[in-house]
């Protein structure tokens, strides 16, 4: 017989081992679905791997997809550290996309346009995140619910915009006018879609790590998240920390939208984000809320997404498998996290 026993310390290698175990468990569990869909498991995963990481072009495509999830993953990781339950990265991303699209469509020198797009997009995301944070701080409204519901509000506001004032009068499609060509983010590798925003995302991760681990704001975020009462007693303005965290988190999510507009789509349409905001939650959990872990976690999910499409074409397994893998990975990670608090002990050998 086995049972769970509380553990007092968590070995350091757990931080690395847990996500790997969770991912392994996910792939094993999902292989059942592949088999049911009538394809060879090894073959299907093989196609996924080669299509996402098999050659340099595939790798750049995966990185381009990973970039928005790095940003939303960081947004969620930072917020969850303070126990600000930001489930609204999706809406914040959309707000960032719309705002940067506005700015990008104004004629001005390219570098200035890009800078302004980033600033305005980040500000828009931050503003959206401010809503659930303020509701929580002032009126004790549950931030999970308010930030989640706000996603729909923003989504339908965006729809109203592209179906209404922004609608392409020429084609009649519900898409925004494109941004200026000069505002398109430069492509870094000829013949790929690898744009400047990807590099910015890769740099943002260590910056966030530094912020959390090495600054007084990061200290206050950590302490507030773990024990707000001790934080308050220790002279930390808990409400201000929550608001700062929300602004930071929303800005990061907003930048995810900026990258999609400036580097990938150059305009806004209804499906500009296939749920990158929600994937950010999976990414942050797999990363155990460590900003440095967000990068590999986002790349994993991106690889699954790009890989799943190729697998679908090659083997006929529906590409929805990528959603199943995401969901399963989140659940597997939550189960795995149990083992940071508990250990399994064999008992009853003597009974």
């Amino acid at each position: 017989m086995f049972r769970l026993e509380a553990r007092s310390t968590t070995p350091a290698w757990f931080n690395l081992a847990l996500p790997l175990i969770a991912i392994a468990a996910t792939l094993i569990l999902c292989s059942g679905l592949i088999a049911v869909a009538g394809a060879g498991v090894i073959e299907a995963y093989g196609v996924m791997l080669s299509a996402s990481l098999g050659d340099s072009y595939a790798i750049t495509e995966t990185l381009v997809r990973a970039a928005p999830m790095i940003f939303t993953g960081l947004a969620v990781a930072v917020a969850f550290r303070a126990k600000f339950w930001n489930i609204g990265a999706e809406g914040q991303l959309l707000a960032g996309a719309v705002a940067s699209c506005f700015v990008g469509a104004i004629p001005m020198p390219g570098y200035l346009a890009m800078l302004l797009m980033a600033l305005v997009g980040a500000a828009a995301g931050a503003l959206v995140a401010l809503v659930p944070a303020t509701l929580r701080v002032k009126f004790k409204v549950d931030d999970v619910v308010s930030s989640l519901l706000l996603n729909s509000v923003i989504y339908y506001a965006l729809m109203a915009l592209i179906e209404g004032p922004w609608k392409d009068t020429f084609s009649g499609y519900p898409i925004s006018p494109p941004i200026e060509d000069s505002a398109n983010f430069p492509v870094l590798i000829e013949g790929t879609r690898m744009h400047l925003g990807v590099v910015v995302a890769l740099i943002a991760a260590p910056l966030c790590w530094f912020l959390i681990a090495r600054t007084t704001l990061g200290f206050r975020i950590r302490v507030t998240g773990e024990n707000p009462e001790a934080a308050r007693y220790g002279g930390i303005n808990v409400q201000r920390v929550l608001i700062s965290t929300a602004l930071l988190s929303g800005a990061l999510a907003g930048l995810a939208g900026v990258g999609e507009v400036g580097g990938v789509h150059f305009q806004v349409m209804s499906d500009i984000s296939p749920g990158y905001g929600y994937s950010g939650i999976v990414v942050a959990m797999l990363a155990r809320l460590n900003p440095l872990g967000v990068v590999p976690a986002a790349i994993f999910l991106a690889a699954v997404m790009t890989g799943a499409e190729a697998m679908s074409r090659a083997t006929g397994v529906p590409a929805f498998l990528s959603d199943v893998i995401q969901g399963t990975a989140l659940l597997a990670m939550l189960v795995a996290l149990l083992f940071t608090a508990y250990r399994i002990r064999r008992v009853g050998a003597q009974t």
């Binding site: 017989m1 007092s8 090495r214 600054t215 007084t216 773990e226 024990n227 007693y233 002990r345 008992v347």
Partner: protein, 506 residues
């Protein structure tokens, strides 16, 4: 002699490198009250958790009425007739007293047997004088009543052995008498009881026999606690004598902290009503009173957690404007909270983080918003050494430390900055005598250096030993202040009930 009710043989339990219990033998006979003594971290709670099934022992056997049993969880323990009252209660706050008793007890044909439960509750109440209003929600009960409910819960489930882990640490002195009467009545009816406490006079008054643990091993057994002195027991626990510190005579200087006409509202506990008091340099002021008479509000006001509705407070001649922890700290106030685990420390983060928490924004630990990890670590290491805080190092989770060591850490984080005034609540609650003595010595040394200290406490013996003056709180007011020369347990006790008002003596 008949078979003991419970027998533990050769129990060994390690946590990593720490041997919390090593080859411990212990038995309890029916009708016996066994005291379990030992310094903080000696392994008392661990041993009882093994008995109650929370931990599996690495080695050793448990016998119930002579038969070996395997106890893997609390359900097994309850089935074997073992009940435990933890220091942190396990009650559902929104449910009523009766509902809490009935949780997990299958009634007839899957329905909850309220009437039967009510009858048992009343019967237990009659037998041991443990009555509780059955339809009150647990959230409305005082700590003492919640403890009573935990005891009733154990009896309700047919416990033959009752384990109480430091039950008196959360009780007011008057409540302790009621608890003891109930425990004696249960023992008289053949129940076995294991009683853990750091208060040796309680142990001597209540128990029939004692087992003393030191570093996880049995260091000694006391067969006649009533005729053994506290000093002898202390020596068994610590391995050396504990000498009480002496308070040298001194003349206090000017007032370092003054409250003038402070009133509060909007606080969970009793509000303050026109409270005025002062503490002078080189003086220790005690605040006595039955808990719930405004001590909580007083501590919260002075430590900056609760801005008052009316009145002023001055520290070292400066009037407090904001009542924020930061402002008060900057004025030279040191603060040690009553609840170490929830208010003092961040249990899930490294100990070092908790030790620098109140001053993280100061030059000592950060510059321009950037932390100085080396300075933080060095500070924590220095204090760990200076205060002999027993832990694996500054990066250990704060929550892994024992109560005494947590208190030392909180003391260190304040005293390192040599505050002009210190406010502290229940400074030695849950601490062994050695650790309590250490804390007392630190307070007296501060006093000798000309600092002012306010000690809010319920232990009158401790207040009488430490304080130059003792103010008594009653229903949110200061009922009177006695100088150490005039104060006796009897006089203070009378004032605590709201009788005999005494005018300020100074």
């Amino acid at each position: 002699m008949s078979a003991p009710l419970i027998e533990m043989r050769g129990i060994t339990k390690s946590f990593g490198a720490v041997k919390a219990n090593e080859a411990v033998d212990l038995s309890v006979a029916p009708g016996e009250i066994l005291g379990l003594l030992g310094e903080n971290g000696a392994g008392k709670t661990t041993l009882m958790n093994v008995l109650f099934g929370a931990y599996a022992p690495d080695a050793g056997d448990i016998l119930v009425e002579g038969r070996p049993v395997a106890i893997h969880n609390s359900a097994d323990a309850l089935a074997a007739g073992i009940g435990m009252v933890h220091q942190h209660f396990h009650l559902a706050p929104r449910l009523t007293v009766l509902e809490n008793l009935l949780i997990g007890i299958p009634g007839k044909s899957g329905r909850i047997d309220r009437a039967g439960g009510l009858a048992r509750l009343q019967e237990i109440g009659r037998q041991h004088g443990l009555s509780l209003e059955p339809n009150l929600p647990v959230s409305a009960l005082s700590v003492g009543e919640q403890q009573r409910l935990e005891i009733i819960k154990a009896l309700f489930r047919g416990a033959k052995l009752l384990i109480l882990d430091e039950p008196t640490a959360v009780l007011a002195p008057s409540e302790v008498d009621g608890l003891f009467a109930a425990l004696r009545s249960m023992a008289a009816q053949g129940l076995g009881i294991i009683f853990i406490s750091h208060k040796l006079n309680e142990v001597r008054a209540l128990t029939h026999r004692c087992v003393v643990l030191r570093h996880g091993k049995v260091a000694g057994r006391v067969d006649h606690p009533a005729s053994t002195t506290s000093a002898e027991m202390a020596k068994l626990m610590c391995g050396h004598e504990i000498v009480p510190p002496t308070r040298e005579a001194s003349t206090p200087g000017a007032a370092v902290l003054t409250l003038d006409g402070i009133s509060t509202s909007g606080h969970a506990g009793t509000p303050l009503r026109d409270v005025s008091l002062f503490v002078r340099a080189g003086e220790i002021l005690g605040i006595a009173g039955v808990s719930g008479n405004g001590q909580r509000a007083l501590a919260d006001v002075i430590s900056g957690m609760l801005p008052p509705k009316a009145g002023t407070m001055t520290i070292a001649g400066k009037t407090v404007a904001q009542f924020s922890p930061r402002e008060l700290q900057a004025l030279g106030l040191g603060r040690i909270p009553e609840d170490r685990m929830t208010t003092g420390l961040v249990t899930n983060l490294p100990l070092a983080d908790s030790m620098v928490l109140p001053r993280i924004g100061t030059e000592a630990f950060s510059r321009k918003g950037l932390l100085n990890p080396a300075a933080i670590r060095a500070f924590a290491e220095e204090q760990i050494k200076a205060y002999d805080i027993r832990c694996p190092g500054p990066m250990v989770r704060a929550g892994a430390l024992s109560g005494g060591n947590l208190q030392k850490a909180l003391l260190a984080r304040e005293l390192a900055f040599d505050p002009k005034v210190l406010i502290v609540s229940q400074p030695t609650r849950g601490l062994d005598i050695g650790a309590a003595r250490f804390i007392h010595e630190k307070f007296l040394a501060m006093r000798a250096r000309g600092r002012g200290i306010i000690v809010i406490g319920e232990d009158l013996e401790e207040l009488l030993m430490l304080c130059d003056r003792i103010a008594v709180m009653y229903e949110g007011r200061i009922a009177g202040t006695l100088s150490s020369a005039d104060a006796t347990v009897a006089r203070l006790g009378l004032m605590m009930t709201g009788a005999g008002h005494t005018e300020e003596a100074a």
